[in-house]
């Protein structure tokens, strides 16, 4: 997900301009010179200026390159991750699962949705089904016990209500 500075900088310029414009068109408070429009305007302009500076590489010399800890003897060398486009998309799995939770929890209920989330995350991190399956079966109940029962968070029951 490392993008060139020109891309992120240009995005910030656009975001800043949009924010400044969005602030500009807000209705002012009658009889007062400053209202809700000033702050977004200032921030938008500032953000756009920062974006421009980043595009032109100002301040880049301050950035520290990430230090890679060399692997020592005795520590097993990890296999280098496969370098294809799809691999880096794995990072989007956690937010996707959270959105899945938002849409599915009310229909399927907390236990089933949570079990799916745990199973998928665990497998994606390399767990075998022998580990992932019991984890997915038990951890939703544990979390429900703590949050639903103890802390009284109204978790949706859905298709599979908990025994308590």
């Amino acid at each position: 997900m490392r993008l060139p500075d020109s891309v992120t900088g240009s995005f910030l310029v656009a975001l800043g301009a949009a924010a400044a414009y969005g602030g500009w068109i807000l209705p002012p408070v009658p009889g007062q010179p400053v209202g809700p429009n000033v702050f977004p305007l200032v921030i938008g302009v500032g953000l756009a200026l920062c974006g421009l500076a980043i595009v032109f590489g100002i301040g880049h010399s301050f950035e520290e390159e990430e230090e890679l800890i060399p692997i020592e003897d005795g520590q097993a060398a990890a296999a280098p991750p496969p370098q294809n486009k799809l691999y880096s998309l794995r990072a989007l799995l956690p937010p996707a699962l959270l959105l899945f939770y938002v849409f599915a929890a009310d229909r399927l209920g907390f236990i089933i949705t949570a079990a799916v989330m745990v199973y998928v995350t665990s497998t994606a991190l390399g767990a075998k089904w022998k580990l992932a399956l019991p984890l997915a079966a038990l951890s939703p109940f544990a979390i429900h016990l703590i949050f639903g029962k103890l802390l009284r968070v109204p978790l949706p029951a859905g298709l599979l209500p908990t025994p308590w």
Binding site: T8, Q32, F39, P40, I54, L97, V102, V118, P140, V153
Partner: protein, 503 residues
């Protein structure tokens, strides 16, 4: 004074507080020791639980968990060379070198002991600094608050270990996020795009959970699993710590002081304190050649420093609502939720609560010694837990916790969105701590800014008229110009040397 102290004791000597503190300590030790789970993340995931606790018990959990997590990050650092929290990264190499020399006990013992000493020094600074500052702060007008907030934001960008321009951009993004909603000077829906859920604005806590927890799970998806901890038998852990204290008392004190100063600076927290103190220790050491080969001196200074910053980070948080570090940013959210709104009056009206906070910090740091020793002994078993079992649970806690904040699914969407934002920012060198500070302080900055503008009636003079305001303004502008000066200096210096050599 004595009466408030007795009241404070009464506040904390309830079963709820005692149990909350003990449980949070164990939780903090475990989370801190697991590589990839930071102290900030531990604190952020605690917040939903604090809803259901009394105010003092809620603060107790945060105090205990954050102090413990900062120490226990040293454990995998020393044994595996993988820091458990970013705050231990500065000296993980050194501690690991000691372990390889067969001095694991000494390294870990120094971690526990000097963390506890540093933590207590931090509390003392909080007790000594906060009340007189509160006196001064009582006379602050919106102009002073505006400059103070600006100074806080600028400090956060200065200390970021990244490009200052990117840090300022991150801060602006945070401020922009805080613009969302109808809580603005005009009370009009701003940047809500007709979505009702956005009318209330973006809550800081789900945003923090997203940035610190979800983004971490996202990174875990792409990084290899850390190796398991080799099991070993430890000798006495505290042996030799007293002689170390006597030998390195000056280094320890310097570490404490540096940690306190960095903690008070907004946005700079334990990790920065550890880096600065370790570098300082090496710079001023009589035997700098020993650094990196398993020398305990840097460990003493940096360990004393990072824990000192935890308590002193609460000074600006309690006084002005300006977080001293990311953990304090979360603490501010909890303080507001519990009706302990930060401000100088907190020290006069809720003095017993303040004393209770001091006492809890002291107790947490004393408790750290026995619990920390126990943790070191069982760490090998806890670190056996593979990432593929820990991360799914973290995900569930993110979902349920963010839902619990408003009993609203929109919180979960916020967490997911900020997970992506935090991940992309971090990957591209934009410091997320600056954004977090912007989100937390945004409303306050805007209020101070707009009120000051209205009061000044278009003139710029009142911003500088009052003496304190003028000093703060000079400092804020200086902080803004500092990177520019460094940049110019760097440009001029090579040119000069080049000119000198060519002559």
């Amino acid at each position: 004074m004595l009466k408030t102290l007795i009241d404070a004791f009464a506040l904390i000597s309830t079963w709820e507080v005692v149990i909350a503190m003990f449980a949070a300590s164990v939780y903090g030790l475990v989370i801190g020791s697991l590589p990839g789970l930071s102290a900030t993340m531990a604190t952020a995931l605690l917040v939903p639980v604090t809803f259901y606790l009394s105010p003092i018990a809620a603060i107790a959990t945060i105090v205990a968990a954050s102090s413990m997590a900062i120490f226990s990050g040293d454990i995998p650092g020393a044994l595996l060379r993988i820091p458990g929290t970013p705050a231990s990264a500065a000296y993980a190499d050194e501690a690991y070198a000691m372990t390889r020399k067969g001095q694991a006990e000494l390294a870990l013992g120094a971690g526990v002991w000097f963390s506890a000493v540093g933590g207590i020094a931090g509390v003392l600074s909080l007790m000594i600094l906060a009340p007189p500052l509160a006196e001064i702060a009582l006379s602050f007008s919106t102009f002073e608050y505006f400059w103070l907030a600006l100074l806080g934001l600028m400090c956060a960008t200065l200390v970021a270990r990244s490009s200052p321009v990117k840090a300022i951009a991150g801060m602006f993004i945070g401020l922009l996020v805080s613009c969302i909603g109808i809580e603005n000077p005009g009370g009009v829906p701003r940047f809500t795009f007709g979505i009702t859920d956005l009318f209330g604005g973006i809550e800081p806590i789900p945003a923090l959970v997203g940035v610190f927890a979800v983004a971490q799970v996202m990174r875990a998806m792409l990084t290899p699993e850390p190796p398991p901890l080799p099991r070993r038998k430890f000798g006495s852990i505290m042996a030799g710590q007293w002689s170390l204290t006597r030998k390195y008392h000056w280094q320890m004190t310097r570490g404490n002081i540096v940690g306190i100063i960095i903690g008070v600076l907004p946005g700079a927290g334990a990790d920065m304190a550890a880096w600065v103190s370790y570098a300082m220790s090496k710079r001023f050491s009589k035997e700098p050649q020993k650094f990196g080969t398993g020398h305990v001196e840097g460990l003493v200074e940096a360990g004393a420093s990072n824990n000192a910053s935890i308590a002193s980070g609460w000074v600006p948080s309690l006084l002005f609502g300006i977080p001293g570090d990311t953990i304090a940013a979360i603490a501010i959210g909890v303080l507001y939720m519990k009706g302990l709104n930060p401000g100088p009056t907190l020290f006069t009206e809720k003095a017993s609560s303040m004393y209770a906070i001091y006492l809890m910090f002291i107790i947490a740091n004393i408790l750290m010694i026995p619990l920390g020793i126990a943790m070191i002994r069982v760490a090998a078993y806890i670190l056996l837990a593979p990432r593929s079992t820990v991360m799914p649970i973290i995900m569930l806690c993110c979902a349920v916790g963010s839902f619990a904040i408003g009993n609203n699914m929109f919180g979960v969407v916020t967490v997911a969105a900020f997970g992506v934002i935090g991940y992309v920012m971090e990957a591209n060198g934009y410091p997320v701590a600056a954004m977090v500070l912007g989100i937390v302080m945004g409303t306050m900055v805007e209020q101070a800014f707009v009120t000051s503008l209205i009061k000044s009636d278009g003139s710029i003079l009142p911003f500088f008229e009052r003496p304190v305001a003028a000093i703060l303004a000079a400092m804020a502008i200086g902080a803004l110009l500092w990177p520019v000066m460094v940049w110019v200096w760097r440009k001029v210096k090579p040119a000069q040397t080049a000119a000198a050599t060519s002559r």
